[in-house]
Amino acid sequence: MYSIFSATKDLVIKIDNFIDLVSESVLHFERGLDLYLSGKTEEFNEKVHTITVLERKADDLRQNIQAQLYVQTLIPESRSDVYQLLEDMDDIIDFSKSLIVGFVVEKPCIPEVLHDRMKKLAETAVNSTDALVQSTRAYFYDVNTVKDHLHKVKFFENESDHIADKAKREIFEMDLDLAAKLHVKHFIVSIDTISDIAESIADHLAIAAMKRVV
């Protein structure tokens, strides 16, 4: 009995760690974008490395948690929801990593006038992910309060759309090649996508939470 208890405790810690990684990945992305825009290439490359390591760690952790849930036949009622939630949360890390790698590979030339707006967009992505992380923790610890955090995800996603629209409008009003415009627009849309992913996960989480309410 004690071994099952300690195995369960261990799994609780792993899930908490995984959720921390999701939150950190977006924070690292925000900081990486800041460094890219400031032209601090060396530090930026370090950040890219950090996110890459973090993404690998999160993948291993997720697979480990899912295997343990399955092998020990834990939470049979909520297992599929938790599986899905972990997969979806992992998408945020994967997307943040691929986006930052996109900056390394494509080296987009972002006009200085757009820097603040891009930073604001990344900050909003962090906020929406943060609200999602809080909702997820609530799902595990205090399911009745999930909805208290979920509405914030929606709020930040709207905010993100709004900022992205403004940024797109500004870029297309600039005197640049269409190719350059489209290139920058691609990165604006991509950063905005982080909030979209968070919102989509929040929708699933709302239903999963409803199922769990006693």
């Binding site: 799994l11 939470i75 049979p76 610890y141 769990r212 006693v214």
Partner: protein, 493 residues
């Protein structure tokens, strides 16, 4: 060998109880995949046997007062009729309970042997059928509210909650299996208690009385039913009735187990009585109906609209149809086995108001003008005697008629302590009780009450105390010992 053949119907009934009713204990846990079938089956098997062996006596006493089946072949048919009713109604997909089937079958025996059915016991039993699902519903409602209150305030991780829930389901499931064994074993083996020729045996765990051996045997039959056939039923119970979360599954099992325990535990009864609280009658109730009651209780927390009135109707119809069908099957089977297979299915008890009975009645203040017409006239059975009394002794109240019948039943008793050597050596009787029996060695009586009075004259330990709640369990113990001795010393010539 004959004993085993006759017991087989009880064992069959036990097996079907294990396959069907025991599924209620872990059904919701299996349905919600919280507990593996193997774990559930092992726990149920062990605790059903423990419940039957340790606490099985209470409810069988009540069944005994409903109708005392006094021949092994009769007990065989009664148990077989109940088992066939359960089997048939299950096949017809009708709600069925072994508790209701056995009561019907016993009444069938009463009709066939022209014995009287004790209406007091019957009404107590029927009332319990109605109250048990209601009580389970109330318990489930209250426990659910308490759980919800706690879970809203205590922040437990989903996985830790899952862990506690599993432990809870196993503990509560074990309690449920114990309660089921204690409450329902009387259905399976109760009718065999007065007639099965089992002697007390000494084991490493202590002395086992004849009825305890029967109950353990019945418990083993129930456990066999659990292992061989209950898996499918458990899955149906768990998934078929209503969607349950693991927490609500735990509440359903807890509420229904509490009800079974309340209606089975003699210790709880004594505890309640000693504190001046009302006690529950010790009556076998239906675990399926307790579970349905608990599910409705959970549903009520989400509003009265969730109540499935059709399901309620089906449950209530089972209260009537099951005993009636079992009664008919029992009556017909008794007729066949007596007349086709030439087996004695009951021992005739004749009734007569002798001089001694007449004096006894007078001493109790029971007088009726036509008493002299009854003097030394023998009646072949309780029904014809009662009919005669109803016609001639109309000044007597129902209670007085009941008393006249109880005192007039002829039972040729010859005291022979040699027949109960085992019971004496095992410490089942007190020193004073044994001494009284030794003094009475060889004496003969025509009526049970004469034997009883003489015992009381020899030792205070054979006397009943005043009828009040404090003395209830003491008196029941003395009465059951006297019943046992009266059966043992009843001359077979």
């Amino acid at each position: 060998m004959m004993v085993i053949i006759f017991l087989s119907s009880g064992l069959f009934l036990g097996w079907s109880l294990g396959a069907n009713d025991a599924a209620n204990v872990f059904g919701t846990a299996i349905g919600s995949k919280m507990v593996k079938f193997r774990t559930a089956a092992i726990i149920t098997g062990i605790f059903v046997i423990l419940g039957a062996g340790i606490s099985g006596g209470g409810t069988s006493h009540t069944l005994g007062t409903l109708g005392s089946v006094n021949e092994l072949a009769g007990a065989f048919i009664v148990a077989l009729s109940a088992a066939l009713t359960v089997l048939w109604m299950t096949q017809l997909n009708l709600p069925v309970s072994t508790s209701q089937a056995i009561v019907g079958a016993i009444i069938g025996w009463n009709f066939f042997s022209s014995s009287l059915t004790d209406m007091n016991s019957l009404s107590k039993i029927v009332m319990s059928w109605v109250t048990s699902p209601i009580l389970a519903g109330v318990f489930a409602f209250i426990i659910y509210m308490i759980f919800r209150f706690i879970l809203k305030r205590v922040k437990i991780h989903l996985l830790m909650l899952d862990f506690y829930n599993r432990v809870g389901l196993i503990v509560v499931g074990a309690f449920g299996a114990y309660s089921l064994g204690a409450n329902n074993i009387a259905n399976v083996m109760g009718v065999f208690v007065p007639v099965a020729p089992f002697r007390n045996i000494e084991t490493v765990l202590g002395n086992l009385s004849g009825s305890q051996q029967l109950f353990i045997l019945g418990g083993v039959a129930i456990a066999a039913g659990v292992f061989t056939y209950s898996q499918r039923v458990m899955k149906t119970v768990g998934q078929g009735i209503v969607y349950l979360t693991p927490v609500t599954a735990l509440i359903v099992v807890l509420a229904s187990s509490l009800v079974l325990f309340l209606f089975a535990s003699q210790s709880l009864e004594s505890f309640l009585i000693s504190r001046g609280l009302p006690a529950f009658p010790l009556v076998p109730v239906s675990s399926s109906q307790a579970v349905i009651g608990a599910l409705i209780g959970i549903g009520l927390t989400r509003g009265a609209r969730t109540i499935n009135y059709r399901l309620l109707g089906r449950v209530a119809s089972g209260w009537v149809t099951t005993p009636v069908i079992a009664c008919i099957i029992s009556f017909i089977s008794l007729f066949i086995i007596q007349n086709v297979f030439d087996q004695q299915v009951f021992r005739e008890v004749r009734y007569s108001i002798s001089d001694s009975v007449s004096k006894k009645l007078a001493s109790e203040g029971i007088h009726f003008s036509a008493k002299d017409d009854f003097l030394n006239v023998e009646y072949n059975n309780a029904v014809s005697f009662k009919n005669a009394l109803d016609k001639a002794a109309f000044s007597l109240s129902d209670q007085e008629i009941k008393r006249v019948i109880a005192l007039s039943g002829i039972k040729e008793i010859r005291v022979d302590p040699g027949k109960i050597e085992n019971e004496i050596s095992s410490g089942w009787l007190t020193a004073g009780q044994i001494e009284a029996l030794t003094i009475l060695d060889g004496r003969e009586y025509s009526y049970r009450w004469e034997f009883f009075e003489d015992l009381g004259r020899q030792s205070i330990e054979w006397r009943l105390k005043n009828y009040n709640n404090d003395n209830k369990s003491y008196n029941r113990d003395v009465e059951s010992k006297i019943d046992y001795l009266a059966e043992k010393f009843w001359s077979r010539e």
